[in-house]
Symmetry: C2
Subunit: 203 residues, 2 copies
């Protein structure tokens, strides 16, 4: 292969195969095994296509899909950090920054910078597109937990108010989907998949 640029691009493509081995806390909807971050990213991109009509104005679908496809590749080095894991989230940003430095640098310089900027945009939720992408990234595990009778919530003792807090990203980035989220949470509480924290007495 004479084309040095193409060689680097192919090496990047081979490298990211490793995302298929990064396991998340969620199970597949049939409960058979943990989901990995590559198939999760595929699912999010499909959601961006199917739910496009609910996106707020100024959302750029191609940009969103690119963000969703690449938003987790830093996990190849940094691993998946469970969203309710307080300790793991303390050094998540640092671990992911180091990962981004290594992984995007596999690409030709200009292209690596372009894809890294997309990842940074997603992480900062600095645009309507990034906020919409983030909302889908929250909605998918919610659907997944509903389908698996609250598997991840029960495993980690996650409560309704924690889920509601986390799902505020949907309210911000995908307001048209917020009633759906509220309904799913109430259905999950009613079904016993998600527990409500005991009320704290104000006395």
């Amino acid at each position: 292969m004479q084309n040095h640029k193409l060689t680097r691009q192919i090496q990047f493509i081979i490298e990211i195969d490793k995302l298929k081995s990064i396991l998340r806390q969620t199970l597949l909807t049939d409960g058979s095994r943990q989901e990995n971050s590559a198939e999760h990213s595929w699912h999010l991109a499909m959601m961006a296509i199917v739910l496009a009509e609910y996106a707020p104005p100024n959302v750029d679908m191609l940009r969103v899909i690119k963000m969703l496809l690449l938003h987790d590749i830093v996990e190849i080095d940094a691993g998946d950090t469970f969203c309710y894991d307080i300790t793991g989230n303390q050094d998540k940003a640092e671990r992911e920054l180091l990962a981004a430095q290594r992984i995007f640098a596999l690409l030709p310089v200009e292209q690596g910078a372009e894809l890294r900027a997309l990842w940074e945009e997603f992480e900062a939720h600095s645009t309507a597109s990034a906020k919409w992408a983030r909302a889908l990234d929250c909605l998918q595990p919610l659907l997944n937990n509903q389908q698996t009778q609250g598997h991840t919530w029960r495993l980690h003792g996650v409560t309704r108010s924690q889920v509601l807090h986390r799902m505020r990203a949907v309210e911000k980035g995908a307001p048209a989907l917020w009633p759906l989220v509220e309904q799913i949470i109430e259905d999950c509480v009613a079904a016993g998949y998600l527990k409500v924290e005991p009320e704290i007495s104000s006395a």
Copy 2:
């Protein structure tokens, strides 16, 4: 949930989770297990982003990514058919047609028709975008087989001329990547990953 349209879209999103359990013949590049069709589709969409500069004129990147993300969802019902399996390929089209009828019909009518048309465009390789998408769908398993020392080829006794024949889709849909494909095939033959068929005597 009051919105009947959204209910159908969410049901479709939940249904396609099953693609994560459809196994392909190829292994992950680390050889640890078979690849599934959802993560394969993610990988192809990433390739469409990274290799965009090599796409022929008239290729629409968003259209290509959509095709690649959904091209395998018929396998939820029809299963993955190994490309060198002659018997399996005899009724592949019929099985996939039935699958398309069921799966795309889960969506609201207009949207189901739109996504199905994209799948049909991919299957017919009737446009520059579909030909490019098809080329990427051939290139990815080639890279994969190279990384796994020809695992799938050795398992099924696939030869150099069979691979070359199959890779003609790259020559047609992605001529700028054809020299890369020829080089990989020769490297795989030299490394002993891919066998050359014995020459047939013309006597």
